[in-house]
Amino acid sequence: MSQRVTTGSPVAGEPPAPTAQGAATATAQLAETPVARMPAVTVPPLRGTLGNQLPLLAIWAILLTAPLWINAVGGYMGLATRVVVLGLAAMSINFLLGFTGFMSFGHAAFFGLGAYGAGFTLKLLVPSTPLSLVFGTLLGGVLGGLLGLLIVRRRGVYFAMVTIAFGQVFYFLAYRWNSLTGGDDGLRGFARQPLHLGPLIIDIQNNAAFFYYFVLFCFAIATGIMGFLLRSPFGRTLLAIRENERRARFLGIPIERHVWASFTLSCFFMSFAGALYALLNNFADPSNLHYTMSGNIVIMAVLGGIRAFWGPLLGAAVFVVLQDYLSSITTNWMSFVGLIFIIVVLFFPRGLLGFVRGRNMA
């Protein structure tokens, strides 16, 4: 693979700007490069003018008022909740993909692990929704961390292949370890429990709108942490690694450690999303871990725009709604979904947000 040898950036598809800028010899210039080359908007700024805040406000306005208008547009509460959960999943993979520049195609394994973790907790340990979320997140996150140790040296296509293969290992375990996971029939016999906050009981079990707000609350926490991480020096380092790994290494940045950290964090977020998914369905099953699910989540991120923080959420919204709509009106919805993949990849590789911004996100 000559591209590996001759060009500087191992994974990012765009031509590395530093070479276009000419030979950069000054260390100061080198040190500046990763930050200077940051796309103007990756993570919405925390403070700033109202203009800057507008996208953020708009998104949250839409999310918060969903129960009011969702039925009127032909949707239903479960659909909105599903969008939020899968949006979180897409944003989780984008932590690794869009912000660190590593392509994992087996991440659904952690989504599924989170789902099973939550299910096991509710079914076997204690009927507590918050605890199920904690255990689910831990299950996927910890296993992700362990797996990360194995694969952190791989790059590019090989990295992707290995993540696919390991993802399938977990799928296989969920599928075949019948006695524990219920195998092909899935893990059932559990349901999300109402929340007990002191004297107040929030019935997220039967009230779809309440559950939606609970999921939104969890989403807010997760994306808040994600945003915080990405704005921190750690996050900046990840961006540096994405832009030009070789230079980052020359700067003395411990690449493997950061990649591992990014991978593990994305696994934690992903399994959190998976745990929420299990609560949504009151069910966990092996298809949550299959590479098809991985592919769907990645395309959601790409569709929305992997260089934008909220891109994957938008991509998830479009994809989930479209799939829901298509599968009701035609039995060939799979072909249409495949077509979406192809069209996005060929014509909208920067995703919807990238298209709207019209900026070269190099």
Partner: protein, 422 residues
């Protein structure tokens, strides 16, 4: 298949928009006569969730066809309670999350009055959770896992197809008598396979037989290893309870190895959809059909078969019958209770005997009260290639008809306790 569905569902799209507006109004706590009157024009909706894409797409397609045929029949005769019936078909894509989501969509957005789901037992099971929560009558046309009418039975869930226990019990003793008591199993490694094997083994042990077997993953492409072991074990019968494409593959390879000279092959279901997929040499062995089209002396059957042949250009299979019966069950019980209240309809369904033109078989076909399981006949017989110049669907010779009640055992033994909502 797809075009028929498409035109029906495009028509429903327009209705949906009106329905959505109506739902918004209906959400208001105004249950005035105005609403009830308006309802008179809206159709009765039956939601059908099946894995139209995925490995079970063949039986799912047949169920959908059977259901649509039934809906047309009912509408021609004036519909249910004087209202036209609409069938809303959703694809569960063989994925539980999708199935559950579609169930919620059908119930919350489309406001269906009945739910039919799913070939995939796991999805049927999960959807039952949703329908139970929302108090919607749920008929399972073709999902076989036993707990649905066993230890996890629910007041609103009824099933048309047999339990694995019924299928196993129906044929096991025939096999023991005819061929012997030493068996080798090819079992698919999931709940359906496990319980089916248990059913066979129970009968075998009762007769003092012996067995060995292999648990094989679904989607096993190559059965040579298992067949090698089978041959060295030397059983009287190879019990092949793999499903779908796996069954087709295993039978093909069984023949290629020439094992039919060493042992018999038998099992439980050998669905007609699968029989079309095997070369004719593979049409051997003893199997059960949960419904069979060729019942010469039973009234109404020939007309039904002819009508399906005319409408769909194919011979109806058991799956067509499942879809057909499921839809008609909804119609019968709604008309009988003169309403759409799920609890009342469920009570009415308990002990309901299907009229002969729906049952399409001899004997009494009843929804048993104790476990909500339809007690239909089980057709035990032998597969054979279609005769030259004869009906291409004539691939099965019915040897015995076992009444469902006899094969099923008692309702208490299934572990079902129906609890009604207060």
């Amino acid at each position: 298949m797809s075009t028929g569905l498409l035109s029906k569902t495009i028509a429903r799209r327009a209705l949906l928009r009106a329905g959505a507006a109506g739902a918004a109004i209906g959400a208001l706590p105004l249950t005035s006569p105005f609403i009830i009157e308006a309802r008179g024009e809206t159709p009765i909706k039956i939601g059908l969730i099946d894995p139209i894409t995925g490995v079970y797409s063949a039986p799912a397609a047949s169920e959908v066809e059977g259901a649509k045929f039934a809906v047309d029949e009912i509408n021609q005769k004036g519909g249910i309670l004087g209202r036209q019936v609409q069938l809303l078909v959703e694809d569960s894509a063989n994925d539980v999350g999708t199935g559950v989501q579609k169930a919620r969509k059908l119930i919350e957005r489309d406001e269906v009055n009945f739910i039919l789901a799913d070939v995939n037992s796991a999805i049927a099971y999960a959807v039952a959770g949703v329908t139970n929560e929302k108090q919607i009558l749920h008929i399972v046309p073709g999902g076989h896992t036993d707990p649905i009418t066993g230890k996890d039975c629910k007041w609103n869930v009824f099933r048309v197809c047999n339990t694995t226990a019924m299928d196993a019990n129906a044929i096991a003793n025939t096999l023991i008598e005819k061929f012997g008591k030493k068996w080798y199993f090819l079992t698919p490694d999931y709940a359906y396979g496990h319980t089916l094997e248990e059913g066979f083994v129970r009968n075998l042990k009762g007769a003092g037989g012996s067995y060995e077997g292999d648990l094989l993953p679904i989607g096993t492409a190559d059965f040579s290893a298992a067949l090698i072991k089978a041959k060295s074990y030397g059983p009287n019968v190879l019990i092949d309870i793999m499903g779908g494409a796996d069954q087709v593959n295993s039978l093909k390879q069984f023949l290629q190895f020439g094992l039919q000279n060493d042992m018999k092959v038998a099992g439980s279901l050998y669905e007609l959809e699968n029989m079309y997929a095997v070369p004719k040499e593979a049409l051997i062995g003893w199997w059960v059909m949960e419904w069979w089209w060729n019942q010469p002396n039973v009234p109404h059957v020939a007309e039904f078969v002819a009508a399906i042949k005319k409408a769909l250009n194919k011979t109806p299979t058991a799956r067509h019958w499942f879809g057909y019966v499921s839809v008609h069950t909804c119609a019968i019980v709604a008309n009988e209770t003169k309403g759409l209240d799920a609890v009342k309809m469920a009570h009415a369904l308990e002990g309901l005997k299907l009229p002969p033109e729906i049952a399409l078989q001899s004997g009494d076909v009843v929804y048993r009260a104790g476990d909500h399981q339809l007690m239909s006949n089980i057709f035990v017989g032998e597969a054979h290639p279609a005769p030259e110049g004869g009906d291409p669907a004539d691939m099965f010779r019915v040897d015995t008809i076992v009444p469902g009640e006899k094969a099923a055992g008692s309702a208490e033994a299934t572990g079902c306790h129906v609890t009604w909502p207060s």
